[in-house]
Symmetry: C2
Subunit: 412 residues, 2 copies
């Protein structure tokens, strides 16, 4: 007898459809701003790093063959022909047979030298003469020219998410601007005649908007640029106008939440159809909560009609909107999803034919695997999400879990 | 024969010592800026949320006892005495026995009504009369006044890290400014006569600074406010001056990296002793890489002498600096550390008496547990960190792992 969605789509199918979107264009940013963004192109090294062979120790630069077999009992005797400090050019210094040069960590290796003996394994007999107590292999205690990165080598591949160490490598190569994939701009619209801004005191019968603040924070966490467009009344014209404005202002994604009544959902659907000239690519998903989800495609942009109840809205965001934001950013679609193996602390009943996401708290148990317990409460209650550590997934083909069975939890 | 650190401290002991620092003071920020920050105080609800009983469905508000036992074959017959739209005040509407009111999702429940029957389970006989096909329990399809959060109830505890849903709850309660624990300000200083800024072309014998960029990004990721103070020469006066300036400008943490030569380390140590008037609280740690670490305490502030080699520097940052940044922010000290169980893809030898952190790449294997393989290369090579997915930990009491043994990896 339930009205509405006759052909619910599986979540796998929704993700497959979202997989047809592609990553956004690129922009060039300063190095520090490139953190956790995606390299838009392969980056090749413009030079050798380091540009010269360097010592990694304080000690003496030598020719390894001159100290072959040196030991405590049979030290090698070398004459000291100079000193190289860090940052100093060794000028015309060149090591001949039986010669050594005093060198400091980071110092440039003199011509002819191929290894460094740590100062601990030497004894100075006079300023011009040292004993060496340990043999070194060629290249020992030395970083060779280009050993970190050779000129022309691929040092960072397109699609790499830039971590602190990737930025460090680029700094070392003198690359201070990087071309990265753009961040998706996400317009957030709340609908509902009963909703007022969180900055207002709601008159009787009205409540404050919760979804906009929650979605704004989620988008920011996932690398998008949220843009709140406020609250619009439950009417076709108002929703159409807000959507149109969002698209005109460059939104890559429009999120409309609220409108949990059948009438309001109809407006969202009609607006999407009016804008795109075609039916939605997703209309109803076999998940709970989150069933009344609508997704339309407008060129390269995506329009989401999210459920109004905040828990449903968040589940749909986490499963699908985040998925698309990752794709837009050139990232693996599951980036940022942390899942955990848990043991069910009690029975989790479900029905086959839909995927359930049950809000749960986690408790430490006798072994490494935490126990999951359901958080009770309607999906319109934000407090249930505040209490929850994660969402326990009950697969579509499952009638639920018995107490003690293992399951997967998406961390919130 | 090795010089320097005779009493190496275990990493557990270092963390215990860092545990004596306490969280920073608080500041008040706008709601969206509070994301992922720590609530400095308990937050109590200033009002009931929602402020009235609301319908969660489109349907009819009823008295549950009037539809007790209603079914397809024996529907209940109720007279419709009005309609309540979302956001509308129900004025003087009050339900008497046998009466119903048409209501929309989000609509305020009329006096006397205690449940909502979904429109799907009703049939309108005429505008004033409906049949109801299903019984409802009291409170069914209704969110009660204060059910999300009761006035005066603790809704967010001090020390909670604010997720999107916590911000959503605060928005719902009209709390648009939050008192959160301050972010630690972290001054970053590179030393070394051989180091130039990443913006320069290094003259012969010099190389570009890698550590500052890497540390800046790490600090940003961990919620700190990085402040780069540039490169200072390897001299007591220059390092003292830079440290003093950092402290004067409000740094909570000073990171000095570089100075991997014995002489430069001595300067850092002497500067810390000059500033604090006491020996460092940590001087040498039984980890590899990362042994030559110095930590001093200056009132509530911390001074770190980090190893110059970038991989060593990063390991010490991840183990200890991040630990302290979490403590400063009132977070669990291990926040942000992601570790993973892996299987050793080959032998990982070590020696007892120190903890090893081996850079590894991870490969998918026949089961869920990835296989770890070492990334070879000196700890001065940033490229080893770029290749690495994580750091495989070999505990202090272990001589290493055999191929096939399970181990723990900290993800980079």
């Amino acid at each position: 007898m339930e009205k509405g969605f006759f052909h619910l789509m599986t979540s796998e199918k929704v993700k497959k459809i979202l997989g047809e979107f592609s990553s956004l264009g690129y922009e060039e940013v300063e190095l520090p701003s490139a953190l956790e963004r995606t390299a838009a192109f392969d980056i090749f090294s413009p030079e050798d790093l380091p540009p010269f062979a360097r010592s990694t120790m304080d000690g003496y630069a030598v020719r390894a063959r001159d100290v072959f077999g040196a030991s405590e009992t049979e030290p090698a005797l070398l004459s000291v022909v100079g000193e190289i400090r860090m940052g100093q050019e060794p000028a015309s210094l060149e090591l001949g047979t039986g010669e050594a040069v005093k060198i400091w960590t980071g110092g440039i290796l003199p011509k002819g030298g191929d290894a460094v003996v740590m100062v601990e394994y030497t004894r100075s007999l006079d300023p011009k003469l040292i004993e060496i107590y340990r043999a070194v292999a060629p290249s020992e205690n030395v970083i060779l020219r280009g050993q970190d990165c050779e000129k022309g080598a691929l040092c960072i591949s397109a699609g790499t998410r830039l971590r602190p160490q990737e930025l460090g490598l680029l700094a070392g190569l003198g690359i201070t601007r990087v071309r990265v994939v753009k961040r998706p701009c996400v317009a957030i619209i709340s609908t509902g005649d009963e909703v007022v801004s969180e900055k207002e005191t709601p008159p009787c019968g009205k409540i404050r908007d919760i979804n906009s603040t929650t979605l704004e924070a989620l988008v920011k966490k996932d690398g998008g640029v949220p843009k709140r467009l406020g609250i619009v009344p439950d009417s076709f014209e108002a929703i159409l106008d807000a959507c149109q404005r969002a698209l005109d202002e460059g939104a890559d994604v429009v999120l409309i939440s609220g409108g949990s009544s059948v009438g309001a959902r109809d407006y969202t659907l009609k607006v999407f159809e009016e804008l795109t000239g075609s039916p939605p690519i997703v209309h109803g998903v076999a998940i709970r909560p989150g069933k009344p989800t609508i997704i339309s495609r407008y060129g390269d942009k995506a329009l989401f009609g999210l459920p109004g109840h905040v828990a449903s809205c968040m589940v749909v965001y986490l499963l699908f909107v985040r998925h698309l934001l990752n794709i837009y950013q050139g990232l693996h679609p599951e980036t940022g999803l942390k899942s955990l193996k848990v043991r069910c602390g009690q029975m989790f009943p479900s029905v086959t034919g839909r995927e359930d996401y049950v809000r749960v708290t986690l408790k430490d148990s006798w072994d490494d695997i935490p126990e999951a317990f359901p958080v009770f409460g309607k999906s319109g209650l934000i407090s249930t999400l505040v209490k929850a550590h994660g969402l326990l997934k009950i697969p579509r083909d499952s009638e639920g879990f018995h107490q003690g069975e293992e399951a997967e939890v998406l961390l919130l």
